[in-house]
Symmetry: C2
Subunit: 161 residues, 2 copies
DNA sequence: GGTGAAATTAGGCTAAC
DNA sequence: GTTAGCCTAATTTCACC
C-alpha cells in the first residue's frame, strides 16, 4: 500500500459509487492500474464491503442510546450467552467489551424512549443483567463510517497480511 | 414505502454491489420497478450514500476509545467552539451530545494507546476541556452500519418527508 | 402500481503495447 | 504505466397488463 492506495481509499470511503475512471482521474492514474489497485485492496480485505447508508430518521431510528453494563460477578457461561443474545438484537449497532469501570458498552438505535424501554424489556427477558445504565443521545453532532487514514503503514507487505 | 422497499433496503444495507437485477430477483420484482424504487429511495434520501467499509486493522486503527466529557460550567461560546474543533479530528468517528451525567460522548479510533495519548494532547491543545474520561474497548463484539428496519413506517408519505 | 422487451450508454474488465 | 476495445449491466423508453 502506498499514497495512491490511500487516496483511492479516501475517495471510496466517502462515495463508493464513483466510477473507476473517476477515481483514476482524481488520483492521477489511468483507469487500468487504478482498477487493479482497487481489486487488490478488495482481495486483501482492506476494503471489506460496500454498503448503502440509510437515513436513521427515514427508517424511524432517530434515538441513539448508549448502554453501559457491569458484569463483575458473572460466570464465564453467562458471559458467553450474554454476547450471543445481545448480538441477535438488530437494534444493537455496536457492542464492545471494555476495560475499566464499565464491562460492556452497547450502542442501540430505536425510534423513541418508549421503544427503548420495550427493547430493554425484551433484552432482560432473555438474559438476566445486573447493572445496566442507559444514556440517551440528544444530538448527533458527527457520525461517519470513514476511518482516519493518517495512521496507514506503507510497506512491502500489509502490516498484518 | 412498503414491504418491498424494506426488502430492498435490507439487501443494499448489507451489500450495495448487488446488481439491480439481483435485487429484483430476490425481492420478487422485475428489474424496471425495482430500479425505480431504488431511485426513489435515493431521491427521498432514505438511502443517503453508498460507501466502502474498510478493515480497521488494515488501516491501523485497531483501538476504539470512548471519551466522556462533562462541560457543566462552560459558556455557549465555548460549546460552539468545542463542537467545531472536535469535528475536525478524523479520529473522531462519532460525536454525540448526551443527556444525563455525561455531556458529550466521542468514539475515537487510533492505532494504539500511545496514539490516543497523542490525539488527546492535540485535542486539549486546541480547546481547554475540564472533565474528560476515556474508556478503551478491549474487543469489538459487534459493529455494523445496518439499521434495524423493523420500525419502518409504511404510509402514503414518508414519515417526515 | 406491475411486466417484459428493446435501445442506449456508461463503465467494468481485458488485451496489447 | 498507457490506450483501445469488448461486453456486461445500468439506465431509459416503450407497449401492455
Amino acid at each position: 500500500m502506498d499514497r495512491l492506495d490511500k487516496k483511492i481509499l479516501r475517495l471510496l470511503q466517502a462515495d463508493s459509487t464513483l466510477a473507476v475512471a473517476d477515481v483514476a482521474k482524481r488520483v492521477g492514474l489511468s483507469t487500468t492500474p487504478c482498477w487493479r489497485r482497487i481489486q487488490k485492496l478488495e482481495e486483501e480485505g482492506v476494503i471489506k464491503r460496500r454498503v448503502a447508508i440509510l437515513d436513521p430518521d427515514k427508517v424511524n431510528t432517530r434515538v441513539t442510546v448508549f448502554v453501559s453494563i457491569r458484569t463483575n460477578s458473572h460466570s464465564t457461561e453467562w458471559l458467553k450467552r450474554f454476547s450471543e443474545v445481545v448480538i441477535t438484537f438488530p437494534e444493537v449497532i455496536e457492542f464492545y467489551r471494555m476495560s475499566g469501570d464499565v464491562d460492556y458498552l452497547l450502542r442501540v438505535v430505536v425510534p423513541d424512549i418508549a421503544a427503548y424501554d420495550a427493547f430493554y424489556k425484551r433484552l432482560i427477558e432473555k438474559i438476566e443483567i445486573r447493572d445496566v445504565s442507559s444514556a440517551f443521545a440528544m444530538e448527533r453532532i458527527k457520525s461517519t463510517t470513514e476511518l482516519p487514514l493518517d495512521y496507514m503503514v506503507f510497506d512491502k507487505e500489509t502490516r498484518d497480511a
